[in-house]
């Protein structure tokens, strides 16, 4: 099995130089120019919170919500980690944008043939054995590229080595079932704009708990409805038959017609 790749982002080491976004834009052929928020032309962006920067990008979840909600399967999770998008399939329902727990996908609202846009984890570079463009561009090592398991080990090593420097949490290790982008932070994650309501359950599991009932609804439902039809139909037939046996009601029936 291909080794899962990941990114480790150390918020304490980020100096907000924006080299990651520049590198990303160059690698993905996006129009240059600094952007403060994610957009169809910025797959990553530095969000400043009180002199520190939280770098936002697609988290490439282990169990991605976008992959599960897309009605046409335009999203796929690849073995090496990247979550990819196929604009040729996309119908533009925008359920992925509504569903993404990290509010990552962006839409080309200005276009009349719009696509969803987001980080693709430089999957072409990965295939060539290169690291992601953002990790390569980072001058301080705040973003580090590597194997998922190794990066997790390194993150916990950094936290245990300097317990005073970091809050004791690796964001992305277990959140929504685990992601491919990890963060360690000197301040609580809520202060850096992270959602603290996500929990450890992958969001697709919540949907599956309802979807898995469908076969039961169909089988039990059709048998029940068929049964009710049979019983009430039989009741009608019996009533009609009894009506035809007795002279009184039979006349009534004829009057009816």
């Amino acid at each position: 099995m291909a080794q899962m790749k990941a990114l480790l982002i150390d918020i304490s080491m980020c100096i907000g130089c924006n080299a990651c976004q520049d590198g990303c834009k160059a690698a993905n052929h996006l129009p240059p120019g600094e952007e403060k928020r994610l957009s169809p032309t910025a797959f990553t962006a530095l969000e400043e919170h009180d002199g520190k920067w939280a770098r936002r990008l697609c988290q490439h979840c282990e169990e991605p919500t976008c992959v599960s909600v897309c009605p046409v399967g335009a999203f796929t999770k690849t073995a090496a980690g990247p979550v990819l998008y196929d604009a040729e399939k996309c119908i533009g329902c925008r359920y992925c944008m509504q569903a993404c727990p990290f509010r990552v996908p962006r839409y080309e609202w200005k276009s009349t043939r719009p696509r969803v846009q987001k980080c693709i984890f430089c999957s072409e570079r990965l295939a060539k054995g290169l690291q992601t463009a953002c990790a390569e561009a980072c001058p301080t090592g705040a973003t580090k590229f590597g194997d998922r398991e190794e990066l997790l080990l390194e993150a916990s090593k950094r936290i245990t080595a300097e317990p005073g420097k970091y809050v004791p949490k690796i964001f992305g290790q277990e959140d929504v079932g685990g992601t491919s982008v990890f963060y360690i932070s000197p301040v609580p994650f809520e202060q850096m704009g992270f959602d603290n309501r996500l929990g450890k359950t992958p969001m697709p599991v919540l949907t599956m708990s309802a979807m898995s009932k469908i076969p039961n609804v169909v089988t039990v439902g059709s048998v029940m409805l068929g049964g009710v039809w049979w019983i009430t139909n039989r009741r009608d037939e019996v009533a009609k038959h009894e009506g035809s046996q007795k002279p009184g009601p039979a006349h009534k029936n004829q009057d009816h017609q």
Partner: protein, 390 residues
């Protein structure tokens, strides 16, 4: 062929003409300029008014399956006069929802993709298929009305002979997608306000669509008439109202038990943007109509019933819009209000719906009694049709 008579100009016809024209122009703008230029949809709010309208349309059309189930599956023949109006409502409702969905899609030219590109894990995929299949079933259920108009009785007999599985399928498909509109929001527990998020969303959506669908039919029986007589005797209408009341009561029990059980109730103490929206929806749409409908006097009065049913529909609309919009806003930082073009398109489509109902019910035998079942009569109608080989 009768001579063409210019239709009389009435207030409603003029209004419908204006709304439809404005809607068509708005739709042309939407397709030529794109979603960004014409709507207030954004990355923060990718779904807006149109999705709320879809929920509403599908919910109001729910009578199609409940009444068909009652009359044809449960043999409650007394309600036969409302089968056709209910079917017509459902048919129009679903057609318009499909139309809105296509307008809402970013790539309307790709609308057919779910037919060939499958993702069975997706609620949206399931809904798409249910709506397509159910609209097909509705066409089959509706076809006899059209065929009757043209005196084509042989195909009617064929349809009658195989209608049972289709009716069962219709009820199942409706159950599935009515509830699935709620399931759409199961995967956003972090986004949807706890006053609306619940693992029971599909159940709640299903129960409330029964109340709204039947209220819609009651309103139709109050407004429309068959040859000057009301469609349903008041006693039967009151019975329908009882079913609505039961659905409302069941809904309230589930909703509040769920809110209390999962701690959502703590948001009810203070008056906020969200709690006001919640109270409006619950009081106007569920509590007050339930109280009204529990009174036999009001249930049997035209005005009482009318008020209660309009309130159910208003509350239902509020519930769907709150789930689709209000519950996802975080006031006052992140809010959404539809653009003029979004509103015009919605109004235009609503106007198309009302006009279509009025036109079709004038042309097709919607309010005439259903002819006796072929197997009951001595089949005199067969003589009317040309021989099979002709």
């Amino acid at each position: 062929m009768s001579k063409f008579v210019f239709p009389r100009i009435t207030f409603w016809r003029s209004l419908a003409t204006v709304l439809i024209t404005a809607g068509v122009i708005a739709a042309i703008l939407r397709f030529t300029l794109g979603l960004g230029a014409t709507t207030n949809l954004s990355d923060e709010f990718p779904w807006g008014l149109w999705i709320g309208f879809d929920f509403l349309g599908i919910g109001l059309a729910a009578a199609g399956f409940t009444i068909v189930a009652a009359v044809h599956l449960f043999h409650a023949h007394d309600y036969e006069p409302i089968v056709r109006p209910a079917l017509l409502t459902a048919f129009i409702g679903y057609s318009l929802v499909v139309l809105v969905l296509v307008i809402d899609l970013g790539r309307p030219d790709h609308f057919w993709h779910p037919l060939v590109m499958w993702n069975p894990h997706s609620v949206m995929f399931e809904i798409t298929w249910c709506v397509i299949l159910y609209t097909t079933v509705l066409s089959i259920e509706f076809a006899p009305i059209v065929l009757e108009k043209f005196n084509m009785h042989r195909p009617i007999k064929w349809i009658h002979n195989c209608s049972l599985p289709f009716m069962i399928l219709g009820v199942l498909l409706s159950t599935l997608h009515q509830s699935s509109f709620g399931s759409l929001y199961l995967c956003v527990p972090n986004r949807l306000h706890p006053l609306w998020y619940s693992p029971l969303l599909p159940v709640l959506f299903f129960v409330s669509c029964i109340a709204s669908g039947i209220s819609m039919v009651i309103l139709e029986t109050l407004i429309l008439s068959r040859n000057g007589r009301t469609l349903l005797p008041p006693a039967l209408r009151a019975n329908l109202a009882k079913i609505t009341a039961v659905a409302l009561a069941v809904y309230l029990v589930i909703r509040f038990q769920d809110l209390l059980g999962r701690g959502g109730a703590r948001y009810l103490g203070q008056l906020t943007y969200h709690s006001i929206a919640f109270y409006f929806e619950i009081v106007v749409g569920f509590v007050v109509p339930l109280v009204l409908l529990l009174s036999p006097r009001l249930r049997n009065s035209r005005r009482g019933l009318f008020t209660a049913c309009v309130m159910v529909l208003a509350g239902f609309a509020a519930n769907r819009m709150n789930t689709a919009i209000t519950g996802l806003e975080s006031y006052p930082v992140r809010t959404y209000f539809p653009s003029l073009i979004e509103i015009l398109i919605m109004l235009g489509i609503a106007a198309i719906g009302f006009s279509a109902f009025s036109l079709i019910s004038g042309y097709l035998p919607i309010f005439e009694p259903e002819p006796e079942k072929p197997q009951i009569t001595d089949e005199p109608w067969i003589q009317n049709t040309p021989p099979a080989g002709a």
